[in-house]
Symmetry: C2
Subunit: 453 residues, 2 copies
């Protein structure tokens, strides 16, 4: 964030109230269970402040390239909490040469990353709390029954673009840290709060934070999981296929080769590929999913004249990458499936389908279900909510994939929003869920990082 951003000081942020020394920390508070009631009480009292913070973040309209105002709110919040705050515009030219870089843009002016570091006293495990500040566009405004930027609250839900994906989750992180700081808890391990840009386009913001040196023993990413815990996250790659035909007049269409007809075996090959790949998945975390790792064809376009035989069709889609699967293996399997079409149709021997990997890419993430991280988070879930969490694998990619693969920081995804409303009209998040995740995050930090006596 450049100095010009600070000519107007931000309004006071009650949700980020400084350490509360009227209630000195008890030396008895060493376990998550000790802290459960104080944290819950603190959060209950700050409910309105939490709503206010989320409201201001939604209203900051942080679509790609316009994240600065929202990041200023986050940075100020972290400063008030007393964290060391690092704000910087990712360096496009350097970043775009990174082999893991994936973004439609190379200029990140207007899109600063924000990181706040709460240094621990030493001897504990560190944790990255990673939320993205960018939101997808509103889409067709006529589909919304509410103003996407008004952040209206109605019957316990806060509505607006980004409420679920994932400003609600980011507020959970900020509140969890604020609760511990306000209660005077001292942790052994470092807590690194990241508010990153560009997740929706493939993770350039998180990549920039990794390249700046931020790493930890674990990461928590509060994407909209609907309160489920996702130790494993599906990756995804965008592909573009071009299917060739041969033009002719439609009245003598037998003189040509329709690229639309030749698209049918391509679609069949993709369906077969999806079936084969999913048949291999025996991970119980995917047991509840009809198609754990889908191959989705998202768009099709070909031909431009009703009376002509189309000579080209382009398909664009996303290939799901199985947790633990190398991206290159998934790519090679798809290329082989497309190449095999020629075995049944010799047209493809001379006119092979063109395969390009383009646009966004999310790496898969893969944390063991029995790991300390998952056990700790699950236990704190039970502490706060009194029931076992649902543990599953994510149907989509998140920045946790980059954190693990590039930043050597294994991550779990767990957040208060819901996929069903993310990216859609009338997106919302339930405020109770935001506060519950805040409590679970606070107690998990206590557990993971350890409390200093």
């Amino acid at each position: 964030m450049n100095p010009a951003d600070h000519t107007t000081p931000p309004p006071p942020d009650p949700a980020a109230s400084p350490p509360d020394h009227t209630t000195p920390p008890s030396d008895e508070w060493t376990t998550p269970l000790d802290l459960r009631d104080p944290v819950n009480r603190w959060l209950d009292e700050r409910r309105d402040d939490a709503i206010d913070l989320l409201r201001r973040l939604v209203r900051a309209r942080s679509t790609q390239g316009h994240e600065r105002a929202a990041q200023q709110i986050v940075a100020e919040h972290l400063r008030i909490l007393g964290l060391e705050v690092d704000v910087w515009d990712p360096d496009g030219p350097t970043l775009s040469n990174d082999p893991y870089f994936c973004s439609p843009r190379t200029d990140f002016g207007g899109s600063p990353n924000v990181v706040g570091v709460w240094k621990g006293s030493g001897g504990g495990r560190s944790m990255i709390l990673n939320g993205h500040i960018d939101v997808v566009p509103v889409g067709d405004p006529s589909q919304w029954t509410r103003d996407p930027w008004a952040a209206d609250v109605d019957e316990g839900r806060l509505y607006g673009r980004g409420a679920s994906d994932m400003k609600g989750g980011s507020v959970s992180l900020l509140l969890g840290v604020a609760a511990l700081r306000s209660l005077g808890v001292r942790l052994k391990g470092d807590v690194i709060v990241q508010s990153v840009v560009d997740e929706e386009s493939g993770g350039a913001g998180t990549l920039a934070a990794i390249r700046r040196g931020y790493r930890a023993d674990a990461a928590l990413v509060p994407e909209p999981t609907g309160m489920r815990i996702f130790p494993k996250q599906q990756g995804s790659l965008w592909f573009r296929l071009t299917v060739a035909g041969r033009g002719a007049h439609g009245g003598t269409r037998y003189e040509g080769v329709s690229a639309i007809e030749k698209t049918l075996p391509v679609l069949a090959a993709l369906a077969h590929l999806e079936t084969e790949r999913n048949a291999r998945i025996d991970d119980p975390l995917y047991a509840g999913s009809p198609i754990p790792v889908p191959v989705n064809v998202g768009s099709i376009k070909g031909g431009d004249w009703p009376s002509m035989v189309p000579d080209r069709v382009t398909l664009e889609g996303r290939l799901g990458v199985i947790p633990g699967e190398p991206v290159e293996a998934a790519q090679a399997e798809m290329a082989a499936a497309l190449g095999a079409i020629a075995d049944d149709d010799c047209w493809f021997a001379e006119h092979p389908v063109t395969l390009e990997w383009f646009g966004a890419r999310w790496l898969p993430g893969d944390v063991d279900e029995g790991s300390d991280l998952v056990r700790s988070l699950s236990a704190r879930y039970r502490d706060v909510l009194g029931e076992d969490p649902v543990i599953a694998a994510s149907p989509w990619g998140t920045d946790a994939g980059l954190l693990a693969a590039v930043g050597d920081t294994p991550g779990v995804v767990f957040g208060p929003g819901t996929t069903a409303v993310a990216h859609y009209a009338d997106e919302y998040v339930e405020i109770d869920r935001v506060l519950e995740v805040a409590a679970i995050v606070a107690l998990t930090l206590v557990d993971w990082c350890g409390v200093a006596r």
Copy 2:
């Protein structure tokens, strides 16, 4: 054509030399055979003039909306021949209310129709000679190895956009009439030479000529048939289908319904419809065609994001109409075929395919193979070329359909160009074929209209 067009007089047109009184008509010339050698000799001597006329027409670049310069050349040619010439801009507002009107535009400024009438002495049958002056766009210029507007002549071929479709044919008509006029032949029946606009968009120019009152006992339309005679012409209608799906994130694609997947049964239904319709065709004129009356899907478009399940696909195509088949029957059969998809897939019961008829439409034409017109044209073909013509049915629609259905003027299609190059790069016509058709047209007029003693 408005008066402003005549401020610069056109250059002299040797191919339209006025009646040649140095060779007075012999009273012996009463049959086509009498005239065969004089006509052939006259055409041989005017070969360079014919090339010059065709060249000037190609160079006039008469794409839609820019037909005036080419029409001026035609009109001047007809005037020099001594015909009564009628030039007018079709009246868009009136025309566009006509039930047979079909064009993407309603303003015909810059696009005059030209008609030249050679009044017969009476007692003979009349004939319309109908050529369209509009040409389709050049398309991708990089596909051309020659300048599409240079009208280069090389090894007996004249190259350029419109050479085959159908200025070569129009020059055949003009030369055929010029030969008879120059040789002093007097016909009993009227000859109505039409140079119309807008054929490539559905026939608004010919419709305007019909509505202006031009009718005859028969018509000859020299579209590029490759010297074959087409007494029957396939009609065609453009359709647009919209297939509905339900959007969802690609990672949970099972929560949505892919409009691309739902397009597969629609394509299958269209293929089945094509098979069924063609199985009914037992007309021997279609014996040589693998698919006499195709259903062609020319374009497809759907979805706009690789990671989303597409919620809509649009298909555009052309439905071939069988000669003799009412357009409404073809439309109803297609609607029924699309409706029947719901029998196998209940998705379509609640989300029926939307069917629109849009854009261009060409009516089918249907002249009996044993009719006087076909027999006369075939006999003159034998007179000139010494062999039997190929008689077939056209794979595409022409203005002959409108002439028959609206103008009560049954027509045969027969021309020097070839479909294989029409609408493509490096379009050309063979000059010998242009002259041969001119001779056949001249002798057919003698036969059909009768010679006045």
